[in-house]
Symmetry: C2
């Protein structure tokens, strides 16, 4: 058998899985941001007819999955495996969404790196011959995340300028062993890295070293230079983390011209989110709603998407621990 | 390429991954149960020198991973991927354990089905050619689970007789593309099923329908009868869930002679755990500590291990929701 691992952490797909369709569902605030017209569904409010924010998050995720399946002109039962994750404790959104889908579930937790981890693991399933069609999906909800990770939402606690705003949104992509679309050609799975940042109001700083490690490992594993890609997009480091990542990469000798972050793209500075967006839903909607469309249109040819996850545990944080982080990367190549 | 999916939810491994080694770490109570002499490390108390139960759980998981790697006569850096999960919110035990290991992490959440999900996903990585050596690991801790899922531990709330006792323990297995050991020949990934049970004190009843669905789907996908296996072991339904599963299988026409459950094996009735053991650590230590040894010794030849997960969300439960569940199965074949 052909061995598909290259270097330390990267795998190469012999028959690159194809993204047949991609769907995004966002909240009202994301629907007023710079990418507003890229999203498939914009909710009128953050409950969308549900009684709680948590139930709304789970519904968003299910809606994104169903929308992606419909866009690929498939039925739910055509999907071999659903790979899903979210920010709620016990992957609640994913588990309750999967309850209404007749599809086996692999529950993934990578915090905000989940969309990238799902694309990577889903591609492994397909390229390995274990599935013909999978859905990778992820979600987050501003209000569920705030009250779970930080303070009761009603308390109105002042957020520091380094804080990011958890995106209310869900994204889903249908991956298949054949068809026309953006291809996933490589994946670099990340290690957990923790340089001691312990401020839940500065997750970008916590994530930057892990993301940088994954990017550099990816370059070295494949012996490529940054200009191999016409865009490197992290998701979601926000302003602070992006700036640190740029510095760390420069110190390692990598000057990256075309670099941005999902957390920076999703909101306009006038929306006063401070350091930008975050949450599993951030890269899920920016990649599925925007980046894949640019690749399909030929405006981008080859993108390195590095999902970044701050593996913050409020319990461990209160017990004096810092915030370990992770970055998972996938290479997305346009069909044109 | 040879397509490895058979039927609806089962995959077959062309070159079945080999379990090179398996390690188990347990707490003092598990160390006094019927399987006491099967475990590699028995902790003296439930803190093991750590300041909190949560830190102890993470240490157990790391110890199990390191022990398994050492037993396989490998170095940490020989491992391509760690697949780990636990019961703590945000997979805290896994993330903080992985922080001290130079190995990429795929974080999995399947509640108590995590060990089976890790063996299945790890086998997919190896048989697909994406890794040569992976570690699959899972953990739980009685005290961290009780206070996270139910009541503050100090409160001394009366437990119903249908309640299971979360195992304090961690297990890890090294899977490789070659070597001598038990082989993973097939995996059946489970769907999320919820028939409306909403009592966190009766998780066995919540899990039984999902586990039964996976077992029947497995039989049908591979066109095998129960006597294909000299043991079918679920993990961990406890007394109540096992009895319901046996009934559901009988109603579907399957009479299973050699059937037991990790949650029943791990404690003696005199230990007063009520319905038996549960938690990711339960099947992790029973499979890694006991079942694999029986397979190695030839006392068992072919085992169907069905990990069972109650995807309980305390938040959703308080919002009136029932408990969705899942079962993931792997076939373990002895080398003799």
């Amino acid at each position: 058998m052909h061995y598909k691992k290259i270097g330390k952490q990267t795998v190469s797909f012999n028959s690159p899985p194809v993204i047949l369709s991609a769907a995004s569902v966002v909240g009202p605030m994301e629907g007023q941001g710079p990418l507003a017209d890229k999203f498939d569904i914009v909710m009128q409010d953050t409950l969308d007819g549900e009684q709680t924010w948590e139930k709304c998050e789970s519904k968003m995720l299910k809606d994104a999955v169903k929308q992606a399946i419909a866009m690929a002109k498939l039925k739910d039962s055509d999907i071999d495996v659903l790979l899903a994750g979210d920010l709620l404790n016990q992957l609640t959104s994913s588990n309750y969404a999967a309850r209404d889908l007749p599809v086996p579930l692999i529950g993934l937790f990578g915090a905000c790196s989940t969309m990238a981890l799902g694309l990577a693991t889903g591609s492994i399933l397909i390229d390995g011959g274990f599935a013909r069609k999978v859905v990778a999906a992820a979600s987050s909800h501003h209000d569920t995340a705030e009250r779970q990770y930080r303070y009761p939402t009603e308390l109105g606690v002042q957020r520091p300028m380094s804080a990011q705003w958890t995106v209310t949104g869900a994204g889903a992509a249908v991956l298949a062993d054949q068809g026309f679309g953006v291809k996933v050609t490589h994946a670099t799975l990340g290690k957990v890295i923790d340089l001691g940042e312990s401020d839940p109001g500065n997750m970008g700083a916590a994530m930057a070293p892990a993301v940088t490690d994954t990017i550099i490992t990816h370059f070295r594993d494949l012996a490529v230079e940054p200009d191999e890609y016409d865009l490197i997009i992290t998701g979601d480091l926000g302003q602070v983390g992006t700036s640190i990542t740029r510095d760390l990469l420069a110190r390692a000798g990598y000057k990256i011209k075309y670099y941005t972050d999902c957390g920076i793209l999703i909101y306009d500075p006038s929306q006063d989110t401070h350091a930008g967006g975050s949450g599993c839903g951030c890269s899920a909607v920016v990649i599925n709603g925007y980046v894949l469309k640019e690749l399909m249109a030929g405006r981008l040819k080859k993108v390195l998407f590095v999902g970044s996850g701050a593996l913050l545990s409020p319990t461990f944080n209160q017990q004096g621990e810092s915030i370990p982080s992770i970055g998972h990367a996938v290479v997305l190549e346009g069909p044109v």
